[in-house]
Amino acid sequence: MKRSTIDIWVGAFVAAGFAGLLFLALKVGNLASFSTAETYQVQAKFANIGGLKVRAPIKSAGVVVGRVSNVTFDNESYEAIVTFNVDAHYRFPRDTSAKILTSGLLGEQYVGLEAGGDGVMLKQGDRLRLTQSAVVLENLISQFLFNKAAENKVESKDGK
């Protein structure tokens, strides 16, 4: 049977192809972070979420503890409701505060959690009370410019 020599090459090719795909999935992609671990869901209201997206990380002290699962708009308070899943290993007090932060100047946005001092821990379906919105760069710049303009006006009046 001459077929066996071809079989070994085809076998090697298929194995190499799957190895390539596996390399992509494990080393390049984040399959490992697709944990099936238990999570609990927490909500927080923000006046402005900036560029926060679904699947953005939730970090506490710089460690990823969960991911954003949903972002909706609340039609009564005109605020954004961010729902996120926190890994069940990580437990936070009930008065934990949430901030929307940016990694680096131009990096992606994430939610930072800062633990409070309450003895009762957060549980499934809780809502965080203390939140701080995203810093919108345009607002900062316009505030800065208006302040500068106001200062100049005062100075030119004084000069007269």
């Binding site: 090459w9 090719f13 298929v14 190499a16 192809g17 992509l24 080393k27 992609g29 984040n30």
Partner: protein, 273 residues
């Protein structure tokens, strides 16, 4: 008056030629679709007598591996060089891994592997089937009550469909390795940042799986075009050479057009990513 009727006649003639050409194209497209359906219905033999398909995987896949691996390596290395030039201007050269991985996994891997596959394996399939037809091997098979579509065409088609995603995966993996060689080993981007940023922003479902789906679609398109052009080729030396050229041109265009459609479907909808 005479001049006018001459212009009118010329116009009518042109219109007629256009209509005939379009009619022939549509006729051919219909035949290609019927051919495709017939091939799918009669691929039982190719899957049952799998050694027929394995033999074709050897010719279409294994023998294309060298060109795919070498091209992947070089494309990855060039991406790293070019990407670094641009990224370092914005002080974010650590994002090189993301740039190389995303461009390879989402676009370049499936598309370039598909183009190489079309010119390396697609043209060979067309030429082989066309020559079998020209030398009346296909007719001889029909005489012996062997269905040439089940015996000759379907195994080649399935071999192409199986090989293509594997080749695209190899291309992307090799390209990322090339990017790593140039980015980390040659230029000196921080190795931890290279891999961790890549892992943080490449999504298994969103990016890698979509890339695999793309390459599967390209595999179907390229091999369908290749086997059809071969089967439909006029049984002359000239006809076979024309069919081979048409295979490469049509399947390259099909890959690029399908890539646009698939990208529009996959990466613009969804969660605004």
């Amino acid at each position: 008056m005479v001049e006018r009727s001459g212009v009118l006649a010329g116009l009518l003639q042109g219109l007629e030629r256009l209509g005939r050409g379009a009619g022939a194209k549509i006729w051919r497209l219909g035949f290609a679709a019927r051919f495709f359906a017939y091939m799918l219905l009669h691929s039982g033999t190719a899957l049952r007598r799998f050694h027929l398909t394995i033999r074709e995987i050897y010719f279409a896949g294994v023998l294309s591996m060298v060109i795919i691996l070498v091209s992947g390596l070089f494309v990855g290395m060039v991406l790293a060089l070019q990407g670094y030039e641009t990224l370092q201007r914005y002080g974010s050269s650590e994002a090189l891994g993301v740039l190389v991985a995303l461009s390879l996994v989402r676009e370049l891997g499936p598309v370039i592997a598909g183009l190489l596959f079309a010119s390396r394996a697609g043209s060979a399939i067309t030429a082989e089937i066309g020559l079998m037809k020209a030398t009346e091997q296909i007719a001889a098979m029909e005489m012996m009550a062997v269905d040439p579509i089940a015996r000759v065409v379907a195994p080649r088609f399935w071999a192409g469909v199986i090989s293509m995603p594997l080749l695209a995966g190899l291309f992307s993996a090799m390209g990322i390795f090339g990017g790593y060689l140039v980015g980390v080993k040659l230029i000196g981007v921080e190795e931890g940042a290279f891999w961790s940023q890549m892992q943080a922003s490449v999504d298994v479902r969103e990016d890698i799986l979509n890339g695999v789906i793309k390459s599967l679609v390209f595999g179907v398109a390229v091999t369908w075009i290749a086997v059809f052009e071969g089967y439909d080729a006029p049984p002359t030396a000239e006809g076979v050479s024309g069919a081979t050229t048409r295979t490469v041109v049509t399947s390259s265009l099909a890959i690029l057009a399908l890539d646009f459609v698939l990208t529009a479907l996959m990466f613009t909808g969804g969660n605004g990513k």
